[in-house]
Symmetry: C2
Subunit: 150 residues, 2 copies
DNA sequence: ATATTTTATATTGTATACAATTTATTGATA
DNA sequence: TATCAATAAATTGTATACAATATAAAATAT
């Protein structure tokens, strides 16, 4: 890989582009529920495991608490979640789905599933794609670790 | 692909994560030059083709002019580029590298290249990865077109 | 030649996104 | 138990990111 660096031959650039296109892709189905892509991702995590701390979500979603705190406040204001201080440890804020937030899992995920079907992935291609992206992540993480140990 | 939607089995989520890791990955080498990842991507484009309009960059980088205008102003302020109204068409703003901006291509790209080498891609894996990501983009674009024609 | 439409960029408002700092609480230790 | 260290969120400041709107210039139509 000693060729000249150009925009189009950079994996980072193509990943960024795919990221942008996914954002756009989710916009239409999620607009019906007044959700942004990141808000949807946050709800996905809560539908898997509810009553968690901001720190937990931060780890799970790979977002800083500086990003999450205002995002969660917006989700609270819109009635998806509640934010309550943990009585047992007043430093923590527990994020819980409201009844409405929990109930919306089915309609939202089935709407999204409908859109995902239009991407027309067969199982093998889907798995290959996932593995390729996870491999990119692994290389980046390994490189980061190597940096820290030097 | 009729399995339940969870965070980790979503291509979008893994793409987002790879995008975040790339941002982090570029942070250290680019900090020496006081550049962010997006500013670097913008310079990459200008090193390929200089003296372009905001619109051209918007298309090339897949960013809206609402993102680019302030970004370009910051690059101008930091001495990387100049922004001048096109005399032949006063609606246009031409973006040109300064002498300093042009000169920095070599040191910056070679620093970045050094970091990219640490990702340890052989040609075949690199090409497979690129093709997989481009395939994701294609599926998203095709799905978007299908939406518009319905 | 004037009105209309199109084009190019800038601005506004809202939402991420994160580093660095601050505040508050809890845990550890001397 | 008083002090210090560690932890959890919130806040601040800066930088993307885009939709919608505004502004101004150029192209087109009447």
């Amino acid at each position: 890989m000693t060729n000249k660096i150009t925009l189009d031959n950079q994996i980072c650039f193509q990943i960024t582009r795919a990221h942008q296109l996914f954002n756009k892709f989710y916009q239409e189905p999620l607009s019906k529920f007044n959700l942004t892509y990141v808000q949807y991702i946050t709800l996905l995590s809560l539908w898997e495991k509810d009553g968690v701390t901001v720190n937990y979500l931060s780890q799970k979603l790979g977002l800083s608490n500086g990003t999450l705190t205002p995002l969660l406040k917006r989700l609270e204001k819109a009635g998806w979640i509640t934010r309550t201080r943990d009585k047992k440890d007043e430093r923590r804020v527990l994020i819980k789905l409201t009844e409405h937030g929990a109930k919306q899992e089915e309609p939202i995920t089935s709407t999204v599933q409908g859109c995902l079907n239009s991407l027309d992935y067969d199982d093998k291609t889907f798995n290959n794609t996932m593995n390729t992206i996870l491999d990119v992540q692994n290389r980046l993480e390994k490189s980061e670790e190597a940096k820290e140990n030097s």
